[in-house]
């Protein structure tokens, strides 16, 4: 986990590399999220101060776009594609299977910060439908049964790291 001090330093560095222009708001939010994994409230306050705009407007923009997250992600962030091709090939069943197997709902991170679950509109790999992405690795042509199998190595890795 990143300490508060590290986070605040990272934000300060990002701010110092940008001009005070309104058009930089989204790039700033993106860079902070890339660096910290999510957008902490303090970071958004700092961006607001830097761009001399109301914090509520920063919050408005951040919550408008799908990309921004306000809670830290799990170590094995799992993305479910909910695009048309994936839907037709049973994407809903894949999502249900993941929620069941991980015991979390979309948008949540589990208690040990291991798994988090996100749904996206389309990752553009329609010929491999239905797909999920676990920790940046694409798992193609899934069925609810194969979801269980795909998760096993990650669950084992998480367990062995804990013990």
């Amino acid at each position: 986990m990143i300490t508060e001090e590290q986070a605040s330093q990272a934000v300060a560095e990002i701010l110092s590399s940008h001009k005070k222009e309104r058009k930089n708001l989204i790039p700033l939010l993106q860079e902070v999220q890339t660096s910290l994994g999510y957008l902490p409230e303090e970071a958004m306050q700092k961006i607001a101060g830097f761009l001399e705009m109301p914090a509520v407007e920063v919050w408005g923009v951040a919550t408008f776009y799908n990309q921004f997250r306000f809670v830290p992600l799990g170590k094995y962030h799992t993305v479910v594609c909910m695009g048309t091709a994936c839907h037709l090939a049973g994407g809903r069943l894949i999502l249900e299977a993941l929620e069941r197997e991980l015991d979390i709902k979309v948008g949540e991170t589990d208690e040990d910060d291991n798994f988090s679950l996100e749904r996206v509109a389309c990752i553009g790999c329609c010929m491999l439908a239905p797909v999920i992405v676990i920790k940046d690795k694409i798992h193609p042509k899934l069925t609810p049964f194969k979801v269980e199998e795909a998760l096993i190595p990650y669950k084992q890795e998480a367990q062995s790291e804990e013990s």
Binding site: R22, Y65, N66, H87, L88, R100, C122, C126, M127, P144
Partner: protein, 634 residues
Amino acid sequence: MTFEEISNKAKSEWEALQKGSYILVGTATCGRAAGALDVVDAFKKELTRQGLEVPIIQVGCIELCYADPFVTISKPDSLRVVYHNVTPEIVPRLVEGYVAGDDPCLELALGTLEGGGDEGVYIPELPRFEHELRLILGRCGYIDPENINHYIANGGYSGLEKALKMPPAKIIGELKKSGLRGRGGAGFPTHRKWELCHKARSTPKYVICNADEGDPGAFMDRVILESDPHQIIEGMIIAGYAIGAEQGYIYIRAEYPLAIERIQIALKQAKELGFLGDNILGGDFGFHIEIAAGAGAFVSGEETALIAAVEGKMSTPRSRPPYPAELGLWNKPTLLNNVKTFAYVPLVIERGGDWFASIGTEGSKGTAVFTLAGKVANSGLAEVPMGTTLSELIYDIGGGIAKDKQFKAVQIGGPSGGCLPETLLDIPIDYDSLREAGSMMGSGGMIVMDEDNCMVDVARFFLDFSTRESCGKCTMCRLGTLQMLRILEDITAGRGKIEDIDLLLALAEDVKIGSLCGLGKTAPNPVLTTLRYFRDEYEAHVLEKRCPARVCPELTVYYILPDKCDRACEHCVLTCPTEAIKGGKGEVKIIDQEKCSKCGTCLEVCPPEYNAVAKLSPVSLLPSPHLSEKRARK
């Protein structure tokens, strides 16, 4: 350097490459998803092991995504051979066989790019290429997208060179002659946008490329950006010159990190060679391009919403007029075109408007790029002249329906488009024919559906998407689509009433009229077209509580056929994620319908020789003991 010098240098680099052997690996996002980077590593390892020095070039996508990863081996004085579904395991064979030796390993190949003799499949003679005409996809997969010289050696930037010697009005005149219409979906004549911007008096002016490809199931812009990025940059520079702009932005969605990376590299290289910067090719005209990475909002595809996003605001549309050509980015004249529109521009300038206008139909000129996905056998991209029919695209290029299933519908244009039935497969693909049929060209996403897809569920899916993506500005789009979604949820859950269908139609009209931008105006299209062509499916859901495709979970049950179940087998019992299947060894297995999550795992794992799991709809088809068991427990 003059353009001639730059071009000569690029050509000699390209020719030098052709004099030796080289290996192309398609590492666009689709190739990577199929394991292309592992293939690259395997080649590196194997070449080192065998002590060979052969360049491996990572290229984009050759659009036959169904058979990724692709590798092309090129040797001087030999046939270029394209291999498909390449895995690291077969790499040593390819290196041994064709890189080092003379065995082209044709049994592993899709075919050859030259020849046509008895050397197996000659790729240009595949049935799909009878229909395809690759204008903007032509270089994709054959040039290094991260090497500007490959682009220049294959005709790149000569359109710009020619354009800079033409007066802007003549460039716009060529566009007018070409009949090019915007490839973002609406089909607005490109020259009219350019002319309005050219005539606008206010300065500075801006050029924006819309690369916010948001339609789920469409990925052609991504492929072009990843495979041949310079043609977009070239198109934008010509646009800047024609309208008098000095600054351009490419708005790319953040979900496309590789596209952003390759555009960044392309911009840097274009600048180094003097195609971008203050004095382009030594002249007076200067143009700069920046990337604006989108943060994920479907509505940003609408031009005024996209402009708001580049300004760093919430991406909400505003009413038009005034059009962006008059009041756009920071209230200045702004030209906004789609990725593909810009990609056509260098070609139109180089070969002339008349040439472009000779391709296509009366009202729709040139080619159209489609992504084919869903239940089609060969998913991927295709570029065909306007006027090609849907059936040619789906059957001749796409190879028909996968797994010998029955075609049901084709959905064109994503959440804004419509589903067309088999009876309309002979209509030509052009802006006007598709609109007449209730669909639209849209960005070019084409999803094929088969007998296993429920059309009510498809309508619900698209509306769910539009509801989530509605920015909330217009009441009818925000709340009207939500009401429509609730009605569709009722119908798919078996709670529908017959009068709901008329209510849906009425609401659809209200949402269309009551919305400012394309998102709301077109959101009802999937519902309207499925109602127009597949009303019987809606009625089956409402009146018989039956889902004809057996998709909607509330109207479907799984049932294990007692006379087919092999009592000794326990596959279903052991794999059921909710432990809903009872029955020990030697007993017939029974599904506890209360516990069943309808995931279909039992159907998937039941060995084909038994084939004992059936999916039934309506639920009342379930033989009575199961029902009575359920009632008894209640």
